[in-house]
């Protein structure tokens, strides 16, 4: 049996159903991300697990025990919020000690635990500082330390880095992952940033409109999206429905509803290549743009606009308006539900 289980979890606010039956198993020590656009229900799911929101239907199992009806404080969960969650009238040390004091942990031990948690997030020297005097990044580190200091069974992170600027965010992502591995603590991380989810997680759970679209390792999700939404949300897939695909590549209509093609799997050349098991069609370059080390073309294939990424090599530059041959291996066409 898994460490955490979500069993057909449903949640409605007044008339709108935010979670439409979520079932998910999480192993002990796993780092899993709940990824999705804003309003997809990922934060709500997290808050339901923590007990801050009540579920309408379904249940949660944590470590073999049904916690659905438990009060939040009985669930032994640590949580880091988006921002502003530190108590402003207490300094860093007092913030960390607060939860332990409620648990009636002896003073000496509190001191030790606080010390080691602060050491872990690298903020020992800020022990006496007040939240208002810390930067946004430091505040979130303290919040993380406060969440792990009482050794919870699960650590919940609700978009903890969304209010932090890009450069610092990278560091914190790596650091959170390091701490998670060190403590081997089961962690659920909510984010709307697919790069962040890919970088940090063991597994990603992609949510849309209150339903799970796909669950899998980052590589799986990236290379093999199962649904139209997954293909559109992750990476820069060309997503063509059956009609469009037929017009662009002159192939028979597929049974599936849509097809996803990664831009870097398409090749452009001046002459026909005659590859095996490939589609080869003629098209016209509409636009080209350099994106870092990649050159991105928009090619018109019989009225359908397709993105193609090529590496920046001076001998294969094409001009706008040029007629080209486009080839695509059949196995790189992913059929979507």
């Amino acid at each position: 049996m898994s460490y955490i289980e979500f069993k057909n979890v449903k949640k409605s606010f007044e008339d709108t159903e935010v979670l439409k039956g979520i079932s998910l198993s999480i192993e002990k020590g796993e780092f899993i991300s709940l990824l999705g656009p804003s309003g997809c229900g990922k934060s709500t799911l997290l808050r339901c697990l923590s007990g801050l929101e009540e579920v309408t239907e379904g249940s949660f199992i944590l470590d073999g025990r049904d916690i659905t009806k438990d009060a939040p404080q009985k669930r032994n969960i640590g949580m880091v919020f988006q921002q502003y969650s530190l108590f402003p009238n207490m300094n860093v040390e007092q913030n960390l000690a607060f939860g332990l004091e409620i648990k009636k942990v002896p003073k000496e031990q509190i001191k030790k635990e606080v010390q080691s948690a602060l050491e872990m997030v690298g903020l020992l020297d800020k022990k006496k500082a007040y939240p208002a005097n810390l930067s946004g990044g430091q505040q979130q580190r303290v919040a993380l330390a406060r969440a792990i200091v009482s050794k919870p069974k699960v650590l919940l992170l609700d978009e903890p880095l969304s209010a932090i600027d890009a450069k610092l965010r990278k560091n914190l992502q790596i650091e959170i992952r390091r701490i998670q591995k060190e403590l081997n603590i089961t962690t659920i991380f909510v984010t709307h940033d697919q790069d962040e989810a890919m970088l940090m997680s063991d597994r990603v759970c992609l949510l849309n409109e209150g339903k799970i679209e796909q669950v899998g390792s980052p590589v799986e999700i990236y290379t093999n999206p199962k649904t139209k939404f997954a293909a559109g949300f992750i990476g820069h897939y060309n997503v063509l429905d059956a009609d469009e695909f037929y017009r662009a590549f002159r192939d028979e209509k597929t049974k599936k509803s849509a097809i996803a093609i990664r831009p870097e799997t398409i090749q452009i050349s001046l002459e026909k290549q005659n590859h095996e098991n490939s589609y080869e069609v003629q098209g016209k370059i509409i636009e080209s743009r350099s994106v870092g080390s990649v050159l991105r073309y928009h090619v018109d294939l019989n009225g359908i606009n397709v993105r193609v990424d090529t590496l920046f090599r001076s001998f294969s530059l094409f001009e706008n308006g040029q007629d080209v041959w486009v080839s695509l291996e059949k196995r790189n066409c992913l059929e979507l539900i």
Binding site: S50, G51, L52, P72, Q73, K74, R75, I77, G78, M79, F81, Q82, Q83, Y84, S85, F87, P88, N89, M90, N91, F98, G99, I102, K103, Y130, P131, A132, N133, R146, S150
Partner: protein
């Protein structure tokens, strides 16, 4: 001089404002202070203050004024605190409705308010008459024209003012703190004692000062209800200048200074407490 010539025109913009402040704030204040230290012979003397702090009538006025102000402040704070607390949990529509009510009643003060209460609870007030008819003795003998009876009006004008001041302070207490505390198994009472109230303390102290000053200087209500039958500072002060009996502006000025002293003392104390809680919260 050179500076004046250069900036003379620019300084003219201050002229009306300066004249107003000097003539109607500074000069009257200074003359009040001077007057309060003037003896019967016209020279410097602290006779007025001696009289205030030895004669029972003035001591009684000071005592009564402080007494009713403290109670009006404490009772007002308690009512306002819990009202604001429950309003922060209310639905948006209800909250807006209540805010309108508070705004509306915040102008309901002074003469109209006191007269309204006379119609309800005065000697021939509606509620008193009704109570006499149905034999409800608690209200049948209500005496509005006493310190205790008047208290209800003091409480009334403290409610809209204090609640409107406290609601923004409650909004400062972030939802995340409460949730983080809940996850740590912190009871609501412990949360408010350890986090909520300390965070709100600056606002609470500011409100306390306002409510106290408001109650202490209230003139219209006691003037209409008890006038001279019960000694109160504002009435005594006004009487020294425009009373029907013997007018003694020197003594009135001294009493004004005493009242001012009480206000400044209370504001000082609340400010001190405020400072203490503001540590670490400065931006």
């Amino acid at each position: 001089m050179e500076y004046l010539k250069k900036n003379g025109k620019k300084l003219c913009f201050f002229l009306p404002f300066l004249l107003l402040v000097i003539l109607f704030l500074l000069v009257p204040f200074v003359s009040m202070v001077k007057q309060s230290f003037t003896g019967s012979d016209g020279g410097f003397s602290i006779a007025c203050f001696q009289e205030i702090f030895t004669k029972t009538v003035y001591l009684k006025a000071i005592k009564n004024s402080i007494w009713i102000s403290i109670w009006a402040t404490v009772a007002g704070l308690i009512v306002d605190f819990f009202l604001a607390l429950s309003l922060t949990k209310a639905t948006k529509r209800k909250k807006n409705w209540y805010l309108s009510l508070l705004n509306l009643t915040s102008t309901f003060a002074g003469l109209p308010l006191t007269l309204s209460f006379i119609t309800i609870l005065g000697t021939a007030g509606v509620f008193v008459l009704i109570s006499q008819k149905i034999g409800f003795s608690a209200l049948a003998n209500y005496n509005l024209y006493s310190l205790n009876g008047m208290f209800i009006i003091y409480l009334y004008f403290q409610i809209p003012m204090g609640t409107l001041l406290l609601i923004p302070a409650f909004e400062e207490v972030k939802k995340e703190w409460r949730e983080a505390a809940v996850l740590m198994n912190c009871s609501p009472i412990r949360f408010w004692c350890k986090i909520g109230i300390p965070v709100m303390m600056p606002a609470i102290m500011g409100t306390t000062g306002m409510l106290f000053a408001n109650a202490l200087t209230a003139y219209t209500t006691p003037y209409l209800l008890v006038n001279n039958s019960i000694a109160l500072l504002p009435i005594k002060i006004a009487d020294m200048f425009v009373g029907d009996v013997r007018q003694r502006p020197e003594l009135g000025s001294a009493l004004s200074l005493v009242m001012l002293g009480i206000i400044v003392l209370v504001l000082g104390i609340t400010n001190l407490i405020k400072r203490k809680f503001e540590k670490g919260q400065s931006k």
